[in-house]
């Protein structure tokens, strides 16, 4: 079927009106863009991915507005919900008669935080009395915003450097690709940890600004992939005949690179960017988990899961799954959604690569 479409397209493009009329009765003419879209939507997984991402976006960007309109509070509203909690501790001891007794100590305390899920707070409140559902929404905003900005910056840097390296070759290529090699060899997480620790210990940088530095660091660690893709594509494309034609028109090299070569690398770029979004979210949540991401009163998915860290006590890990499981599920849904879409796009752009 795809073959037919292609044949129809080629004929209509190259032949005169008469032939076209003849074909149009049997075949529909579809633009390449529409064909990609059609192939994309044919795959169930890509549609599932699309739904997942749309859901996460609505949840994080529209959700807070709805919460604000219905209940009238935001991320940092503290709720003190009174409830009585039983504290039971047991101990075994051996009585004077030689039998083993178990000793129960039961006391009741008034707890204000860590409320269980209720009608007002669907997922309950956390250790500081914040509403968990709302914090999930704001955490999503952070993750999604960071991932999109980082991927955007990575793509720009990668396209410029990869484009220059691929087009000019020789020493320019050597120089740029050696830099790429060095950056690609940096151990990702350890270096990010060093950088984030640096930023959080500089007092002149306000805590809210740390996130911008984090974006810069994530970009720094990730641009090499894009540069390699662009360079590889351009090495191949610049030998093609249309580039000879471009050469003969005498336009400037910059024009040739960024008007004629780079647009042809778009399919690969879009695919790698989509697949990269999930990776950035995982890095960001890892940093937040280690307490080096978005600073405390602000929410991030990673730091919400960090509440369950058993080194800080097992209580939350064991008894309050409502505090950390939803954040983890959201991370998985988002990363999975992006990789479904990315895979779908790759298959759609290049049906021969169908995998």
């Amino acid at each position: 079927m795809i073959e037919k479409e292609k044949a129809a397209q080629q004929t209509t493009n190259s032949s005169n009106q008469e032939v076209k009329d003849g074909y149009e009765q049997h075949f529909k003419v579809i633009s390449p863009g529409r064909m990609v879209a059609k192939r994309f939507f044919r795959s169930k997984l890509s549609i599932a991915g699309l739904y997942m991402i749309v859901f996460v976006f609505l949840f994080s960007f529209v959700g807070p507005l709805i919460v604000d309109a219905t209940w009238g509070y935001e991320e940092l509203e503290v709720f003190k919900i009174e409830r009585i909690a039983d504290m039971v501790s047991t101990a075994d001891f051996k009585g004077p008669d030689g039998k083993t007794y178990t000793y129960y100590d039961k006391s009741q305390t008034l707890v204000y935080f860590k409320a269980p899920p209720s009608a007002e707070h669907w997922l309950g409140t956390d250790t500081s009395g914040f509403d968990i559902l709302t914090r999930l929404m704001y955490g999503g905003r952070i993750s999604l915003t960071i991932s999109f900005i980082v991927i955007f910056l990575e793509t720009i840097i990668g396209v410029i450097l990869g484009g220059l390296a691929g087009y000019f070759g020789k020493w320019v290529d050597q120089l740029i690709m050696r830099i790429v090699d060095i950056f690609a060899c940096l151990p990702g997480l350890p270096v990010l940890l060093v950088l984030s620790a640096t930023i959080s210990s500089i007092e002149s940088i306000p805590a809210e600004h740390r996130i911008y530095y984090m974006m810069a660091f994530l970009t720094l660690m990730g641009w090499t992939g894009v540069a390699r893709i662009v360079r590889g594509q351009i090495l191949m494309l610049r030998e093609q005949e249309y580039m000879l034609a471009a050469e003969t028109t005498g336009i400037s090299p910059m024009h040739k690179i960024f008007r004629h070569l780079v647009p042809n690398t778009m399919p690969q770029l879009i695919v790698s960017a989509t697949l990269g979004l999930g990776g950035v979210i995982l890095y960001e949540s890892t940093l937040s988990y280690l307490g080096l991401g978005v600073p405390f009163p602000r929410a991030a998915w990673g730091s919400m899961i960090a509440l369950a860290d058993p080194s800080k006590g097992q209580e939350i890990l064991a008894n309050y799954p409502n505090m950390w499981v939803p954040a983890g599920v959201l991370i998985v849904v988002t990363v999975l959604g992006f990789s479904f879409i990315g895979d779908g796009l790759r298959d759609a752009f290049d049906p021969r690569m169908k995998r």
Binding site: D181, P187, L189, V191, V194, L282, L317, W324, R355
Partner: protein, 332 residues
């Protein structure tokens, strides 16, 4: 071929030099270093003056944070590193190379076992999925594989801990040995068993995280081979599906598989920072995370250089293996 290899090794050395300079610069830029962290309380109480701190910093080579100063201390680090001396770790109070060689083995054990499990699980699943492309099996396995790659390690660890260590109580929560148990000094087997028991969950986490990628990689490469002409010929000859799949197709899939799997080998020594920390396993990743949080520059440098060397080594090995397994490849 030797020329090619020499060129690759020379390139690797250039990369390592660049990486070391970059990491040194970055870690020296950390404003709160180990001395600050350690002396903060003493200075606050008046037990130490700022001059004392400064003197200590000079002793540790941390005083001069201007660019020429960093360059000078980098050069001295580099010359001693080249002679095999990575300096003293501030935090652990021992030579960095000692700490590295002590703790990499437990990390390697965990990583190597999960590497073997990944191979044993991922490759057969990938083959089966590619042979039954677009079947229910293919979709299920692919989706699970992608979920595995989408899971953050700390979340998967928390989930498994919650279920197996707390709810069911059949596996230990954290650590490498049971602290409350006292073993007789020559009960090596029991101690080993106790350790293995503690490593079940970390190994499960690493396997689940890695198996998806390998499965997908196998499936992709298998599909490529299955679509080639010689497979059609083999089928036309009337060979059984098993022979076609395992004898004709899989052998060619082995080329990319062996190349990438052998390239992963050095990385097994690098440690899994997050997983080891969550499970409090004293591996190299756990030690490195602690050192990084404390600003222990010699250790940070040593560990990161170690990781960079492992990466470069992995690339070299997979290059060489590519030539070894595929006689058609002639590199120049």
């Amino acid at each position: 071929m030797w020329n090619y290899l020499l060129k690759r090794v020379a390139l690797a050395l250039v990369i390592l030099f660049g990486v070391s300079a970059l990491i040194y610069l970055l870690s020296m830029l950390m404003p709160a270093d180990y001395i600050d962290n350690q002396t903060a309380a003493a200075v606050q109480m008046g037990a130490m003056t700022l001059e004392d701190v400064q003197r200590l910093k000079e002793l540790y080579g941390l005083a001069d944070k201007s660019l020429p100063g960093i360059a000078k201390s980098y050069l001295s680090w580099l010359t001693s590193a080249l002679s095999g001396d990575l300096g003293y770790s501030f935090l652990y109070g021992r030579p960095v190379s000692d700490v590295l060689s002590q703790y990499i083995w437990i990390s390697f054990m965990i990583a190597f076992i999960s590497y073997l499990l990944e191979i044993a699980i991922g490759i057969p699943m990938g083959i089966k999925a590619s042979v039954n492309q677009y079947s229910a099996y293919d979709y299920t396995v692919s989706v699970f594989a992608m979920i595995g790659t989408a899971l953050p390690s700390f979340f998967l660890s928390a989930l498994l801990m919650n279920v197996f260590a707390i709810r069911l109580g059949i596996l230990p929560l954290q650590g490498l040995t049971t602290a409350t148990k006292v073993f007789p000094p020559n009960a090596h087997f029991q101690i080993l068993l106790d350790k293995a028991w503690h490593l079940v969950l970390p190994i499960t986490v690493l396997t689940l995280l890695g198996v998806g990628g390998l499965m997908k990689f196998t499936r992709t490469n298998m599909l490529e081979v299955l679509n080639s002409d010689y497979i059609r010929t083999a089928r036309a000859k009337g060979l059984s599906e098993n022979v076609v799949t395992y004898k004709h197709a899989f052998r060619n899939t082995l080329i990319p598989l062996v190349t990438s799997l052998s390239g992963m080998l050095p990385g097994l020594f690098g440690g899994a920072m997050i997983t080891e920390t969550v499970f409090a396993i004293p591996g190299i990743g756990y030690m490195a995370l602690r050192a990084t949080q404390q600003g222990d520059i010699p250790f940070i440098m040593g560990y990161n250089m170690f990781l960079a060397i492992l990466t470069v080594l992995g690339m070299l090995i997979s290059d060489i293996m590519y030539m070894v397994v595929d006689p058609r490849v002639k590199l120049s």
